[in-house]
């Protein structure tokens, strides 16, 4: 049996495959409620007691391991929504969250497997269906999958283990308290009886779900904290279909879009005569992505609501026909709309006009010098600045960025009169299910979203307009359709990381002691301020202000939203401030953190000073900070976001006047590390991501037109530019796990700027540090 996997692959209990991500808006992080109700663990009565399930994805891989082949069960017993056990002990664990490269498809099942006390080599992982009645927060974003899943995943494993133990106790007529388990085996020491999980699976499936279970002590862990390779690794390195773009269905057509070439324009008219006459082309037409008056959600952000669509037999034919369409565009009118935003509404202003990067910079500088909104104020900063002997003031900027996951936006849709089958890469299936339902006029239960593994996301796939577009196109042509964005479409349809600006000021007395600290920051069209983070809490006189500049360029959450700019700016400023104060930059931070710990200012500080200081102390020790090495230039930074603490040191060597990053050392406190090999990989990726965007990437606009539209003009970091070595140290503190997908990339931009200063004698204030955006595109 050698059926390929993502093609219409569905087991009886599976309506979805899912992929995940690692970033989300900071709002999701704080506002999405999670609950682990017992219903998550209630058995499916239809399957309990022996429903045979087929179509497991590993069977479709063509190359199951010999062990898997030998151990293919005849029957599966579903114990709860997270797992089922085969009659021979093979266990299938559902990975609830979308897999986007953060490796939750391996690490989340590891947590279940730990509490189930199963031997990992008998575990098969499947992507869970989108089912909010069983799983909570099936979202890829905010670095929250492990943190939010921690309790529920352990409960899923532990309740199943308890049911197996009770089944054995009942079968053997012994007290359950005398039953023990180890690596997929159940034992009763006194009678010498033993059984594999498979032998008890049928009986366990009819045991009532326990109301309480005891979770393992950390010291008992055998799987958590050990390195387990990516469960999809073999499929990835052999080119098996896994991604949305790989999905195919009989009779499927290909669709592509034509969108306005500039922000601030909309479609006026189009001529499709030539395109329609081209070979393989089925139809050309206009769609409205969303209908006016329909209720939308935060993730329905899009740039262009009216699109011209080309539908044909094959991608190349459609790509060619696209070029044969001529459009007339007209300028949009200014508007302001209210959109729902996590139980509230927020106003979104869209001004008319064709915008320019130069104008955005001028507007941001003007706003930074005008009155702004005070977000936090401690003490009397104004008075402190008045009496300062020295004021250090520095401003920082960063441009728009395009997320550019390597798999371009795409989605499959087959919409019929009574059902919508939607398959593809999406970070927010829970939300987009509602959007599709509203737009198609089909009830929610008729919307079937299946999630594929995602070829990256970084926040871009939180905004699922492409899913709705595919659905609308399929409905219109009454056929299965795969919508594909070209790279140019992907890069020029907006939803960019906002452009940012920040001004930092510090007031010092004549002895270089700190009197006051002031941050005033904003962006086009959002601010990146997190006013209650360090150094708030460590400074007696503190002021945090923000402002915004409206724009018709759409923006969205980009890996570590807000933090991806403000951390670098703040950490560069602290470095320059430490130098002005004549202090070691690590010592200065530790001094302030000591104050935040022992006599904190204010009460809303949202970090733990001790853990923050912990990563700085660890990096100091691990990096040999303070020992000068000839030719090596070092910069340090530390930051807290997504519930985790990170300190980093970047080591630069200059070669022919060009900086080479010899090494990056990181100290990370994200609590318990589930899967060290994957955690280290993710940390390395975050570091390279931060260095890359801080050094090379920018989207600039001229008359509303993005000047970069593909990887020849939009520069991403490449092999030669990556650090030669990365060393990641995790704090071993046995605390509950927190985020890892995002916290690594924000501070490294500051560490890089500070190392570049040491190497070149020049401070770096404007991203991208190593190229002039005006020369790009």
């Amino acid at each position: 049996m050698c059926k390929e996997v993502s093609q219409n692959h569905r087991s009886q209990n599976q309506k979805i495959t899912r992929s995940p991500d690692r970033q989300i808006t900071k709002y999701l992080m704080t506002l999405v409620k999670i609950s682990h109700g017992r219903r998550s663990f209630i058995k499916s009565s239809a399957l309990a007691g022996g429903g045979v399930m087929i179509g497991f994805s590993w069977l479709a891989s063509c190359k199951p391991t010999p062990e898997q082949l030998l151990s293919m069960p005849k029957e599966w017993f579903k114990i709860n929504g997270f797992l089922k056990i085969g009659d021979n002990g093979v266990v299938t664990i559902m990975s609830p969250n979308p897999e986007i490269g953060q490796n939750v498809k391996t690490s989340m099942p590891m947590i279940v497997a730990e509490e189930l006390d199963v031997d990992w080599k008998y575990v098969i992982v499947e992507q869970a269906p989108l089912d909010t009645s069983i799983f909570s927060r099936q979202i890829a974003g905010g670095s929250q999958a492990i943190r939010h899943g921690w309790e529920g995943l352990r409960m899923a494993g532990a309740t199943a283990r308890q049911m197996l133990k009770e089944a054995a106790a009942k079968t053997w007529g012994v007290p359950v308290s005398e039953i023990t388990t180890e690596a997929s085996m159940i034992h009763h020491k006194n009678s010498g009886k033993s059984a594999g999980y498979g032998e008890m699976a049928s009986a366990a499936a009819s045991i009532p779900v326990p109301k309480e279970v005891k979770l393992k002590e950390i010291s008992e862990y055998k799987i958590i904290g050990t390195s387990r390779n990516n469960v999809d690794g073999q499929k990835i390195v052999t080119g098996k279909p896994l991604f949305g773009l790989d999905y195919k269905k009989e009779g499927m057509l290909i669709a592509m879009i034509v969108h306005p070439p500039a922000f601030g324009l909309k479609l006026k008219s189009f001529d499709d005569a030539a395109a329609k006459a081209m070979p393989g082309i089925k139809d050309v037409f206009k769609i409205d992505v969303y209908k006016e008056g329909d209720e939308t959600q935060w993730c329905d952000t899009l740039s262009f609501n009216e699109l011209v669509v080309v539908v044909g037999n094959s991608t190349w034919e459609v790509m060619n026909a696209k070029k044969a369409i001529t459009c007339e565009w007209e300028q949009i009118k200014s508007k302001e709309i209210e959109v729902p935003f996590f139980g509230k509404t927020k106003k979104v202003a869209t001004p008319s006009g064709l915008e320019n990067t130069d104008d955005h910079l001028a507007q941001m500088i003007a706003a930074s010098k005008s009155a702004a909104t005070t977000v936090r104020k401690d003490g009397d900063p104004e008075a402190a600045f008045k009496k300062a002997a020295t004021i250090l003031e520095r401003s920082y900027t960063a441009p728009f960025l395009a997320h550019s996951p390597l798999e371009p936006m795409n989605f499959f849709a087959h919409v019929t009169a009574d059902k919508a089958e939607l398959v593809g890469p999406i970070q927010t299936p829970e939300f987009m299910e509602k959007s599709a339902s509203t737009r198609l006029g089909l009830p929610l239960e008729k919307i079937d979203i299946q999630m594929t593994r995602m070829g990256g996301g970084f926040g871009r796939r939180l905004y699922g307009h492409f899913l709705v577009e595919a659905a609308v196109i399929s409905q219109k042509v009454n056929a299965p359709v795969k919508l594909i964005y070209s790279r140019e479409d992907d890069m020029t349809t907006g939803i960019y990381r906002p452009a940012y600006h920040a001004t930092y000021r510090a007031a010092l007395d004549e002895n270089k002691n700190l009197l006051a600290f002031h941050v005033k920051t904003g962006g086009v069209p959002e601010s990146s301020l997190s006013a209650n983070r360090f150094p708030a809490g460590a400074v007696d006189n503190y002021l945090a202000e923000e402002w915004t500049v409206t724009s018709n360029v759409s923006v969205g959450a980009f890996r570590a939203p807000g933090s991806n700019f403000i951390a670098g700016a703040e950490q560069s400023f602290l470095d320059e401030l430490a130098e002005t104060m004549g202090k070691d930059p690590i010592d200065l931070r530790l001094e302030w953190l000591e104050k935040a710990k022992t006599s904190p200012v204010g009460k809303d500080n949202d970090y733990e000073a001790e853990r923050y200081a912990g990563v700085l102390q660890l990096i100091k020790e691990k990096s040999g900070w303070g020992k000068d090495t000839a030719g090596l230039h070092r910069g340090v930074a530390a930051y807290f976001c997504h519930n985790s603490y990170v300190a980093q040191i970047v080591d630069i060597e200059m070669k022919d006047n060009e900086p080479t990053i010899k090494k990056v050392t990181a100290a990370v406190d994200c609590g318990i590390v589930i899967n060290p090999v994957a955690a280290t990989n993710l940390a390395e990726g975050g570091i390279i991501d931060g260095i890359g965007h801080g050094s090379y990437s920018a989207i600039t606009l001229k008359d509303g037109v993005p000047q970069q539209n593909n990887f020849n003009t939009y520069r991403l970091i490449r092999h030669k530019e990556a650090p030669k070595q990365i060393e990641v140290h995790f704090v071993d503190n046995k605390k509950d796990p927190t985020g890892l997908g995002e916290p690594l990339n924000p501070p490294v931009i500051g560490a890089l700027a500070n190392a570049l200063y040491k190497a070149t004698g020049k401070r770096y204030y404007d991203q991208p540090f190593l190229v002039d955006p005006k020369l790009m595109g």
Binding site: N229, D232, L245, E407, G456
Partner: protein, 152 residues
């Protein structure tokens, strides 16, 4: 439209397509071989890297009409059982994050090691420079190439 005979992974295939069709779309749309990925369409990201005879090329800009009788190798045909030393090294180092670029990375690495059995760090970086990894697995890729070189 025209008929072309191709040798892909040792198997003869006949397709009837527009002569300008890039091999990438012949593979993906017409032959259901989707291991070769679409990333940019302008030979800038390397996700579509395949071998034409033993040379790594970008399938997204390679029209079918210029292939002639050269042999095409894709990620699907790199090894019978997914156990080419480069594939094994990729698994050993647990290289992939999202995984989308890795087929192209592997194909470039295999071509490199055919030409240069024991490449230096600089040589690895230079040859791999054309393959983007948006997740940032570069340091692992380099380590995996070195491991593969040792095992070949």
């Amino acid at each position: 439209m025209a008929t072309f005979n191709l040798n892909i992974n040792g198997t003869n295939q006949t397709v009837d397509v527009d002569p300008t069709t890039p091999i990438l779309w012949v593979l993906r749309d017409h032959l259901d071989m989707v291991g070769t990925k679409f990333g940019c369409g302008i030979a800038s990201c390397g996700a579509c890297t395949i071998h034409l005879d033993d040379t790594a090329v970008r399938a997204c800009v390679l029209p079918i009409s210029v292939v002639g009788d050269k042999k095409i190798t894709t990620i699907e045909g790199l090894s019978e059982s997914g156990d080419h030393p480069v594939q094994k090294a990729w698994l050993e180092h647990d290289v992939p994050q999202c995984g989308y670029c890795q087929a192209g990375q592997i194909m470039t690495a295999v071509a490199l090691l055919k030409e240069n059995a024991n490449p230096s760090d600089d040589e690895i970086e230079s040859v791999m420079h054309g393959n983007l990894c948006r997740c940032g697995t570069y340091t692992r890729i380099k380590a995996a190439v070195k491991t593969a070189a040792k095992n070949m």
